[in-house]
């Protein structure tokens, strides 16, 4: 099937998904004009909504990339949430104890976040490579461990000293990701785009990406022609962990300006679903991340104006993924209609 027809099929699946979602929303009592208004007009006509969408799309893009590079090595990183948590913990560590000179602190926070995200990947990677412990389960279990560790910090040593709420004390101005100079766009958007370019280069143009394709296609064959398969998979997994950690940093420093109890919720699954929908293509990751972000921002206003629980958006996201995933059937298989 030609590339163009493939794209058409996927768009068809997407369209059906959106249609089913729209019908579901109408079912709970939102009229069609209101739907158009909430999901399209009010988002694209207000600069505040556009900013909100972009601020959400940035971490979503980064977790999408994280999932994508994992998939490319056939390493299922389901532990994105845990790495997001640890990334943000790493960044907050720098912010809380004022490590390093002020003008470099934000860079230090970003590097620490990537390092912590990567570190959280080491155990499941080791278990997978050395003992063949399934990484799907081990990375996922570590999400719960990371979450409990986060709660331990927020209810213990890192509790806000002024308000006694379970979140870290607010980052200082130099520790936040602010808007790009002169524009109303958060720096996290720029960071996300830089990594999209880097990943495009890494996956499709670099020698690493070329070898990784061998490993993906047939790891036994790759091994027998002398490719260090374990090393390739390890590098991909560690990059995946580092990216998730970075996403944690962009959420805490770009959106919340502090470490909160639930900042990571949903990013794990969404990252995987975005990576899957985008078929591991970094450019498509951006598009699907934007789409998910639009849904989420519209969902917030549905919650405020129509009292529709935010869970509705999660449901819609799942419906869309199901429809697109099912539409792939028509790409993989030729259908003969026998008369």
């Amino acid at each position: 099937m030609s590339k163009r027809n493939q794209a058409l099929v996927i768009c068809g699946g997407l369209g059906i998904g959106l249609l089913v979602s729209a019908v579901t929303l109408m079912f709970v009592g939102i009229s069609a004009p209101d739907l158009l208004n909430e999901f399209i007009f009010s988002i694209f006509t207000s600069s505040r909504s556009i900013n909100a969408v972009l601020a959400l799309a940035a971490p979503l893009t980064i977790v999408g990339l994280s999932a994508a590079i994992g998939f490319k090595a056939r390493f299922w990183n389901i532990g994105i949430e845990g790495q997001v948590i640890f990334g943000a913990i790493g960044a907050t560590l720098i912010a809380t104890y004022d490590v390093g000179p002020e003008q470099f602190r934000i860079y230090l926070m970003a590097s620490m976040a990537m390092l912590f995200g990567m570190a959280w990947m080491i155990l499941p990677l080791f278990l997978s490579v050395k003992l063949r412990v399934n990484e799907i389960i081990s990375t996922l279990l570590l999400n719960y461990v990371a979450f409990n560790f986060l709660l331990h910090l927020l209810y213990g040593p890192w509790k806000d000293p002024e308000t006694f709420f379970p979140n870290s004390k607010i980052y200082e101005k130099s520790e936040r990701l602010n808007n790009v100079m002169g524009l109303e766009i958060n720096v996290s958007v720029v960071i996300a785009l830089v990594f999209v370019v880097l990943m495009t280069w890494l996956l499709s143009l670099s020698r690493f990406g070329y070898i990784l394709k061998f490993v993906y296609a047939n790891s036994k064959m790759a091994k027998s022609i002398g490719i260090k398969v374990v090393l390739m998979v390890s590098i991909a997994a560690l990059i995946s962990g580092a990216l998730s950690g970075l996403a944690g940093f962009t959420i805490s420093a770009g959106i919340d300006s502090r470490l909160t109890q639930g900042f990571f919720i949903g990013y794990g699954f969404l990252g995987i679903l975005i990576g899957f929908l985008a078929r591991n293509n970094p450019i498509l990751v951006v598009i699907f991340a934007l789409m998910m972000a639009i849904l989420m921002v519209a969902g917030q206003s549905l919650q405020v104006f129509y009292q529709i629980p935010f869970a509705m958006i999660q449901l819609i996201q799942a419906i869309i993924v199901i429809c697109v995933a099912a539409s792939e059937f028509f790409i993989q298989h030729r259908i003969n209609i026998i008369k």
């Binding site: 709970v28 299922w76 389901i78 278990l127 003992l131 063949r132 412990v133 399934n134 799907i136 389960i137 081990s138 996922l140 279990l141 570590l142 719960y144 461990v145 409990n148 560790f149 709660l151 331990h152 209810y155 213990g156 699954f269 995987i272 679903l273 899957f276 629980p309 869970a311 509705m312 958006i313 999660q314 449901l315 819609i316 996201q317 799942a318 419906i319 993924v321 199901i322 995933a325 099912a326 792939e328 059937f329 993989q332 298989h333």
Partner: protein, 308 residues
Amino acid sequence: MDFLVNWISIVPQFAVPFALATLGLIICEKSGVLNLGAEGFMLMGAMAGVGATILTGGPYFGLLIAAIAAGFLSLIFAFLVIVMRVNQVISGLTMVFLAQGLTTLVSTQMEWTNKSFVGIGGLNFGLLADIPIIGRFIFGHDIIVYSTILIFAATVYIFDQTEIGLRIKAVGENPEAADSAGVSVLYHRFLAVVVGCMLVGLAGGYLSVVVSKIWVDGMSGGRGWITIALVIFARWRFWTAMLGAVLFGCVEALIPRVAAIGLQVPQYFVLMLPYLATLAVMIWASLGKNSSGAPAALGKAFVREERS
């Protein structure tokens, strides 16, 4: 001594959800369908069970609905992986995501969240329960605890002795051969997925209707994932799965009691216990024999060769 008796006598309550869900997953996976959606089906069962109990006042009816609701949801999953041949890992994860959204949405709209109700109590064994120590271990649990053992025995019988059990195993081990012998891969995989998910749903229903007697969003709290690990630990064998479930019942029953022994461990580290224990069990399982015991066609979609 008192501590031990108190601890062990509540283990069955905590073991039953693991046991039923692990059993359900093994049934599903014996047919060759990898089910990573356990957490979602469990949530669905837990929410539907509470809903039905609140609406009708009948907790046993609630448990029935818990199983049925999860069974219905699993039809989507079965359709995706069996008919549309979507990647089984992605389909499973999507089901979890879907169920999280769906259960939170429905329970909020119906105002079932944080609403308490009368659940199911222990059976009355009269004097038997007064036998020192043994009385509390064996008697005084609710009827589902005892039924679980029966369900296990029945499943083992079905898989070892009956035609249908053998057929399900056949489509999980070698679907091509089964197909050419005239066994419908589609039908048997659908059957195994739906029945398996109904048991996972029942496990969820037990969690909410019997154990906690309340519904809270996301209340399965990772037990579905632990169950997936238990299947690997049990090497897809039924009675070993029961053993694993009891082991994790012990771990969970221990958590609220750690403070009672006087151990000064920060509470959130104690809450990590089940997940760390699961990881330990996975590592232990990987050290053993070379063959994992997994059905040969697990995770692979069946594509029938074209016949001309």
